[in-house]
Amino acid sequence: MKTVHFELLLGRKVHDSEGRRVGRILEVHAEPEGKDCVVREYLLGTAALLTRLGISAERLLGLPVHREPVRVPWDQMDLSDPERPRLRCSVEELTRNK
């Protein structure tokens, strides 16, 4: 059984299939399914820790912030190496499929 520790995934940098940096894992969205609770998508952001704390340069300057996290469906995330999570597609394909 292959397992990953969720708490160690948080804040990990994610690259796409072409090696470009997409963001850091901010959050994981899950839903109950029968007796289980299954992962639906991963939320990636640019500044994981600061975003989780609600801090950003824009906020500090009093500017409105409209940055949305990148939503990655569970089947597009490759966690075979949990220390180096990768997308199975490029960022463009991810946004195109939305």
Partner: protein
């Protein structure tokens, strides 16, 4: 916390794992506090979405979140001085009975789990040896068993 689903358990129909589960207060079926969710383990399945396998509790798990070196140090300390038999208490997801914004309830008795090893040790090695208050006639306040 999102609305509750009619899933037979008090678990919301949408969960954000970091926000809703990690570091959440854990209670047993009698609502006795057992600690916090220090770790969450996902099972990766071929062709199917990952599922939550179990939650983990324990100082070693918490230390690992900060650094692997600190984890080794805390585990070494536990082996030398600790009374807990296991470094981490693992509760399968199937034991989760209810999840609210203030606690995660497990369908277990806290006293039957390793989370209460320290309390049991203190009861047997310290509390039991504290002299009980004397009555006016010099007898102990309560009968010894």
């Amino acid at each position: 916390m999102p609305r509750q689903k009619e899933n037979g358990k008090g678990i919301p129909d949408e969960l954000e794992l970091a926000r809703d589960i990690l570091d959440q207060q854990v209670v047993d079926r009698e609502e006795t506090k057992m600690g916090r969710v220090d770790g969450l383990v996902l099972e990766l399945r071929e062709g199917r979405p990952p599922r939550i396998d179990h939650i983990e509790m324990g100082a070693v798990v918490l230390a690992r979140r900060l650094s692997p070196r600190l984890e080794r140090w805390v585990d070494g300390w536990r082996r030398r001085f600790g009374v807990r038999k296991v470094a981490r208490y693992k509760a399968p997801w199937s034991d989760v009975q209810e999840l609210t914004s203030y606690h995660l309830k497990l369908d277990v008795g806290a006293l039957d789990t390793p989370t209460f090893d320290w309390e049991r040790w203190l009861r047997d090695h310290v509390i039991q040896h504290i002299p009980r208050p004397l009555k006016g006639n010099g007898e102990e306040g309560e009968k010894k068993e």
